[in-house]
């Protein structure tokens, strides 16, 4: 067992997968010699050779498009998009091609690939280095969407994603790369070495896709979230003094609806939290499902806490980011209602 940052855990998952299966290849902008702008692929080119981990031209279309061809051939490409904000040039290839290849060929051609991309804000990256576009993937039939919240699970989820026979969008909350950020931007940052989820098992293991985790049990309300916001949620709950159950979805699609409904039926109150823009965000889907499945258990409307419906600003980053204070207020509010 080694303490790792999320970056190291992701790198380790790559190395383990590449060691096991010579069909696993890695491509993306700056991922080769340099090892990625966040260093998630550092050392892979040296270790596995330039054909297994290589730099690409700056074309997200080309990265995804060629990776689809590779996947159809029988390889298992892992494509890195440098920031999720830059996935749009590759979006057509993801939506119209990767997601539908199995369907339209009735299983004759398939697309086992992982598209990794750093998401979320908290690093003063402004509108082009901060986005959380998960809802643009969950709306597309044929894609799985995964968001890890700590090093241990990031490794296991990534290995499960690589093993999956279908395209998986793997969203990495960049603000968690180095430590479990809880939204208190004005306090010293905590490294993963100080957090038990920084303990990463060596070798191969999977954290299964499609299964959520109850990261804090509670009886008063259910707080459903994922990624960076898991840590924000835990901090807010601790500070609120309310016994809120916190669920880390881990996989957004397929969704672990059972874990959600079991919790909300128990607590009768629910908050959905994410960093992406509120309107048509993934929280809308979760809310719609919860009110449908748990209507007769709900004692208050499901509340959503999310990024505002504006582009992600720069100077006002912390006014935009749905931090612990906003979550606490939502907890108070959901508890008030009868």
């Amino acid at each position: 067992m080694a303490r790792m940052t999320m970056i190291e855990a992701i790198r380790d998952a790559h190395a383990v997968a590449m060691e096991r299966d010579s069909d696993v290849v890695v491509l993306g902008e700056d991922v080769g010699y340099f090892g990625g702008v966040f260093r998630c692929t550092a050392g892979l080119q040296k270790r596995f050779g330039v054909e297994r981990c290589f730099d690409t031209p700056i074309s997200e279309l080309g990265i995804v498009g060629t990776a689809i061809g590779m996947a159809a051939y029988g390889l298992k490409p892992i494509a890195e998009i440098q920031f999720a904000d830059y996935m749009y040039p590759g979006y057509d290839q993801i939506v119209s091609e990767a997601a539908r290849l199995r369907y339209r060929s009735a299983g004759e051609f398939t697309c086992p690939m992982v598209i990794r991309m750093p998401t979320g804000g908290g690093i003063f990256g402004a509108q082009t280095h901060s986005q959380s576009p998960e809802a643009l993937f969950t709306h597309v039939a044929g894609l799985k969407t995964v968001v890890p919240s700590n090093p241990r699970e990031a490794k296991g989820l990534l290995l499960a994603a690589i093993a999956d026979p279908d395209p998986v969008i793997f969203l990495e909350p960049k603000r968690l790369y180095n430590g479990p950020f809880d939204g208190h931007f004005d306090r010293p940052s905590v490294p993963w070495s100080k957090h038990e989820a920084g303990d990463v098992e060596p070798g191969y293991y999977e954290v299964p896709l499609g299964k959520a985790a109850v990261v804090r049990e509670g009886s008063a309300a259910t707080l459903i979230t994922y990624g960076t916001m898991v840590h924000v949620a835990l901090a807010a709950v601790a500070e609120s003094g309310t016994d809120v159950e916190v669920i880390d979805l881990r996989t957004l699609l397929p969704l672990d609806l059972e874990t959600i409904t079991a919790s909300v039926r128990k607590t009768g109150r629910c908050i959905v939290l994410h960093e992406a823009t509120l309107t048509s965000g993934y929280g809308a889907e979760v809310t719609a499902l919860v009110q449908r499945e748990c209507f007769y258990s709900l004692e208050a409307p499901v509340l959503r806490v999310a990024g505002w419906d504006t582009p992600y600003p720069h100077a006002q980053e912390w006014d935009y980011f749905p931090g612990p204070e906003r979550v606490r207020r939502a907890i108070d509010k959901v508890m008030e209602a009868e």
Binding site: E51, G65, G69, L75, F109, L257
Partner: protein
């Protein structure tokens, strides 16, 4: 100093519109046999002029002449003729079937049959085409059962893709025919990726990408050329210039470039430009590109010059935007008639045998049609199940889809 001129928007337009007399005198067509054949390892910069001419083998007398002649045996040519005739007959039957409401939609190849039928002859099992909707000849030449094609056109219960796709969007891995997307150009870059995979594995397979003249404007075309130019995988990048993109003439996509083949020059890639209605020329040029791929010399771009003699699809009536007689005036002629004349000239074919072959093929296609229609057509007979609608979204059906399938009652 210079005199300023107010800028204006230059919107290219065809010289000829409905009501005008067709005129192709601006299309420079070299004599058959006139264009040199460079060695396949020639440096791109030393063969630039190939992108501005047209490789032709069959002359007006039906003779195969010049350095590109001789790539196929008489037997292969006879088979090629049969493939083209089958495709044309099949097209005609399916067009009629569409008008009869037996299928929702159809796209024909009229005038372009030589390209896909001859190209396929240069490939071998293991190679993979990434076709558009106008290359069904690849399937026919590869021996894909006609009845499967028809079942797909009818979206009946024998449809290999379970009714999910538009009629002509075939798919057959075994026959080296990648599943067609419907989104233009997207698969051009996937072909490059497929070839990169072959290169990564060191497998002796090649990919062939296909695109229309109009679709070269799409982003994926650029992505494909950039990645092909950088990694030099075994891929052939085909451009079928049939002069039209629905109602839009090729000048809109081509702009100021002399030809589509010239696009290659910005990427240090070799380009050929070929008479797409000349079965022998198509094969010889394809063979040249195949040799480059098999010798690890890298990608080749080929522009096939042809003419879309029919409507864009069954939804289109071209007389709204071009003279009806334009097809007849097209100077490169009809690919079937030209190969037929060559075979007769070779002495291995005759008018009588041709007539007989036409009758045979028609009978064959009609028999297959009967077989397919016995299964069903779009609105009658045995059809794919609503259950099929939920399969293959993922390898394993996730709970939400299962719930939805149950809601439909399956």
């Amino acid at each position: 100093m210079f005199e300023e001129v107010s800028p204006r928007l230059h919107v290219p337009a065809p010289a000829i519109r409905p009501g005008d007399d067709p005129d192709f005198s601006h299309v420079a067509i070299p004599r058959a046999g006139a264009v040199d054949r460079p060695e396949p390892d020639t440096r791109p910069e030393d063969m630039r002029e190939m992108a501005f001419s047209i490789i032709r083998v069959l002359n007006r007398k039906g003779e195969a002449v010049g350095p590109w002649a001789g790539s196929l045996s008489g037997e292969a040519l006879l088979q090629g003729l049969r493939d083209m005739m089958t495709l044309r007959t099949y097209d005609a039957r399916m067009l009629t079937a569409q008008r009869q409401g037996k299928c929702s939609f159809y796209m024909q190849h009229l005038g372009e049959e030589a390209i896909s039928c001859a190209f396929q002859r240069a490939l071998r099992p293991g190679d993979m085409n990434f076709p558009t909707y106008r290359q069904a000849g690849l399937l026919i030449a590869a021996g894909y059962p006609l009845v499967k094609m028809m079942n797909q056109v009818y979206s009946n219960d024998g449809d290999p893709v379970r009714g999910r796709q538009l009629p002509v969007f075939y798919s057959s891995k075994e026959h080296g025919f990648f599943s067609i997307s419907g989104n233009l150009a997207t698969q051009y870059v996937q072909a490059v990726g497929w070839a990169m995979a072959a290169a990564i594995k060191g497998d002796r397979k090649l990919a062939a990408a296909w695109i229309g003249d109009g679709s070269t404007a799409e982003s994926d075309f650029h992505g494909a050329l950039v990645f092909a130019s950088t990694y030099k995988p075994p891929v052939i990048l085909n451009i079928v210039n049939n002069q039209w993109a629905i109602s839009t003439f090729q000048g809109i996509a081509r702009g100021g470039a002399g030809t589509f083949a010239a696009r290659a020059h910005g990427f240090g890639l070799p380009a050929l430009r070929v008479d797409g209605n000349d079965f022998l020329a198509v094969h010889a040029a394809s063979q040249w590109a195949v040799e480059r791929a098999r010798r690890d010399l890298g990608p080749t771009i080929i522009e096939f010059v042809t003419y879309r003699a029919g409507g864009h699809s069954t939804s289109d009536d071209p007389s709204a935007y071009r003279p009806k007689e334009e097809g007849a005036a097209w100077p490169l002629g009809d690919p079937i008639l030209r190969l037929k004349a060559h075979l007769i000239q070779l002495g291995i074919w005759s008018e009588e045998r041709h007539k007989q072959a036409e009758a045979e093929i028609l009978a064959e296609v009609m028999a297959v049609q009967k077989e397919a229609e016995a299964i069903g057509t779009l609105h009658s007979g045995q059809r794919p199940s609503p259950r099929d609608m939920f399969e293959d979204v993922f390898a394993e059906m996730p709970p939400h889809l299962l719930r939805q399938r149950h809601e439909v009652g399956y």
